[in-house]
């Protein structure tokens, strides 16, 4: 732990974290730019960096980005990030009442508290989970990958079927190239040398997240923003913070728990927290939807707490909790490390580095969040038609620089178009990305598991292991819960039990 602290508390790392947080706040506050897009591009730029510095930048952007969306949500009722949708419901009415400064100040403080609570939960919960996961072998890793994909297909998609298709295509993309075991055998390479190296996940992620977003934005007619009031964030009084402390802690736990579910992310946690606070607070400061402070406290603490939650499965099991943690896993892979139980067991200092960087990020969030409100009016209103072409430039460079190969830039565009089409037809990009990241793990472990059983009693070899058995039950439960017949059957049982 001390070694990790010494790595984090260097001037360079702190400066990079600060730049990351500021960049994340700016990106998060501009409607049309997403934290995922920024993180996808940063993965390739930080390729040659030391891992600690790369993590500092990406985690800084992550923390800042989740918060940044609240500024535009409060000031112009257009959330800069989807996770700020709930904040705008009461944040914007507060701005209309001339209390924008108070709203921004509250959002900033609550994001700080939420972020810190989420990270503290990560610090306590991750090591024991990781110890438990040390028992995992090939069978368990394979099923864990399938479970993660099934979960994200169900939760991050309007349709489980479309989610499964997206995930399968993601796995397919990860399999393109020379086979790891039979090196001379190319999978879907058609004799092309360029394809033998496979489709690298970095340009794939840049294409699927960034280019797809660019195309989606440019397709729309431009939104002209109304006049943005100049405002300065005001630090809430201690009495105000104490008054809403219970809501802060409760919403942070909600955010952390939901963040730990693969594929769910900050948007859902903020909305669930908002819904929760509406139900249990009987006498809010104002009616909800008309500028209730509780309506800002709950979603803002929940969405930043999601960060800690999303890092739990990512670091302990190698299953990302959301798109950005999928990219963080990508950063680890680029640096030759594989997140999972062995990471915390063999490189505990890396885990603590992440915890400390995340805590430092939240401190900078508190400082910059209030300062940024002075200039946010100039940044938020930048037109998409100016920004998006510049993003294309950055994406092209991002895909090129890490291996100096134009093929990656071409792959980025193709996947960007695929990502844009997927959005149009309601397919989950998150599921596909997770398929790309988990594909090699699923492939390796499936073959290893079957090799151990020499192809005999395959089902028995999976069912005879307790953890595998539980994972199989969970996967089946997720899939079967989608089938109407099964759902109606359980509803009837439920009604009978109640009567």
């Amino acid at each position: 732990m001390l070694e990790a602290l010494s790595q984090v508390l260097t001037i360079k790392t702190i400066l990079i974290t600060a730049i990351g947080v500021m960049g994340g706040i700016i990106v998060g506050s501009i409607p049309g730019l997403t934290v995922t897009m920024a993180a996808a591009i940063l993965i390739s730029f930080t390729y040659g960096w030391h891992l600690v510095e790369a993590l500092a930048l990406i985690l800084g952007v992550y923390a800042g980005g989740f918060y940044g969306g609240s500024q535009s949500a409060i000031l112009i009722n257009i959330p800069g990030a989807p996770s700020a949708i709930a904040t705008g419901i009461d944040g914007y009415p507060l701005a209309l009442k001339g209390e924008a400064g108070e709203a921004i100040g509250l959002a900033t403080i609550e994001s700080f508290f939420g972020g810190v609570i989420g990270i503290l939960i990560l610090a306590f919960v991750a090591p024991p989970i990781s110890k438990f996961a040390l028992q995992f072998r090939s069978h368990e890793y394979f099923l864990l990958g399938i479970f993660g994909l099934t979960m994200i297909s169900k939760l991050a998609s309007n349709s489980l079927v479309k989610g499964i298709i997206s995930a399968c295509f993601g796995i397919f993309i990860s399999l393109i190239g020379l086979d790891v075991v039979y090196g001379a055998c190319g999978r879907f390479t058609y004799g092309q040398t360029l394809l033998m190296g496979g489709i690298h996940f970095v340009p794939a992620l840049i294409g699927l997240f960034a280019i797809a977003e660019v195309l989606t934005q440019l397709e729309k007619t431009q939104l002209l923003s109304s006049a943005v009031p100049k405002t300065i964030g005001k630090i809430p009084k201690l009495a105000t913070i104490k008054k809403y402390l219970y809501i802060t802690i409760r919403s942070s736990f909600i955010g952390t728990f939901i963040g730990a579910l693969p594929g769910v992310g900050g948007t859902i946690s903020a909305l669930v927290a908002y819904d929760d606070v509406q139900r249990y607070v009987k006498k809010p400061s104002r009616p909800f939807g008309e500028g209730a402070y509780e309506g800002v406290v709950a979603p803002e603490s929940a969405n930043n707490a999601t960060i800690g939650g999303a890092l739990i499965p990512a670091l302990t099991l190698g299953i990302p909790g959301d798109a950005v943690t999928a990219l963080i896993i990508g950063a680890f892979l680029l640096h030759g490390l594989r997140p999972g139980p062995l990471l915390i067991d063999r490189n505990p200092e890396i885990f603590w580095v992440i915890v400390f960087i995340a805590l430092v990020s939240n401190i900078f969030l508190l400082i910059f969040g209030l300062l940024y409100s002075r200039i946010s009016v100039y940044v938020i209103t930048v037109k998409s038609a100016i920004l998006m072409p510049i993003i294309v430039l950055i994406c092209a460079i991002g895909s090129y620089v890490f291996e100096s190969n134009m093929f990656h830039v071409q792959a980025m565009l193709v996947l960007g178009i695929i990502g844009w089409l997927m959005r149009k037809f309601d397919f989950s990009i998150g599921a596909m990305v997770l398929g790309i990241i988990l594909g090699p793990i699923i492939d390796d472990n499936l073959r290893r598991a079957l090799l151990l059983s020499q192809g005999n009693n395959i089902f028995l070899s999976f069912l005879s292991k307790p953890i595998s058995f539980v994972l199989i039950v969970l996967i089946l439960a997720l899939v079967l819960s989608e089938i109407n017949l099964v759902r109606r059957f359980f509803e009837k049982i439920n009604i009978r039990i109640k009567s």
């Binding site: 349709s159 440019l218 397709e219 294309v392 430039l393 020499q454």
Partner: protein
Amino acid sequence: MKNIRNNDIVTGLVVLLIGIYIFIESIRLLEVGEYYDSPGLLPVIISSIIILSSIVMLWNGINKEKIKINANLTGSANNIEKKPLFTHRIFVIIFIIALYIIILDYFGFLFSSILFLFVLMYYLKSTTILKIIIFSVIVPVLIQYVFKNIFNQIIP
């Protein structure tokens, strides 16, 4: 629900065809090694799942279509304005981006990017012509400087 059309039927068909293609290619890969450690094993499994899922999608799409037809017959359907799924604008944008990536290899980052930004911003009517020219020149120069001199990256 966006665009209440036969999206599920069309996409279901496309996905089904792709799934069948992947399945056929994967079967050939199964010939390498034993089936349980063959490079074709996972591709066969996932292509089978894709095929099954696309059939379910097609089924759902056909059911939706039946409901729509019934609603039209009973006159209970609202007049839903059908927005075009694709516009001419997006294809032009994709074409400009594709062209940029092609010329990037031949003319290098600076020239290609200046040209790209100018053409795309002009097409999008982003701002005034003077500002477009200024952005088109300054942004690529800045990006090149930052990545070459500060990040020490090799750019095209």
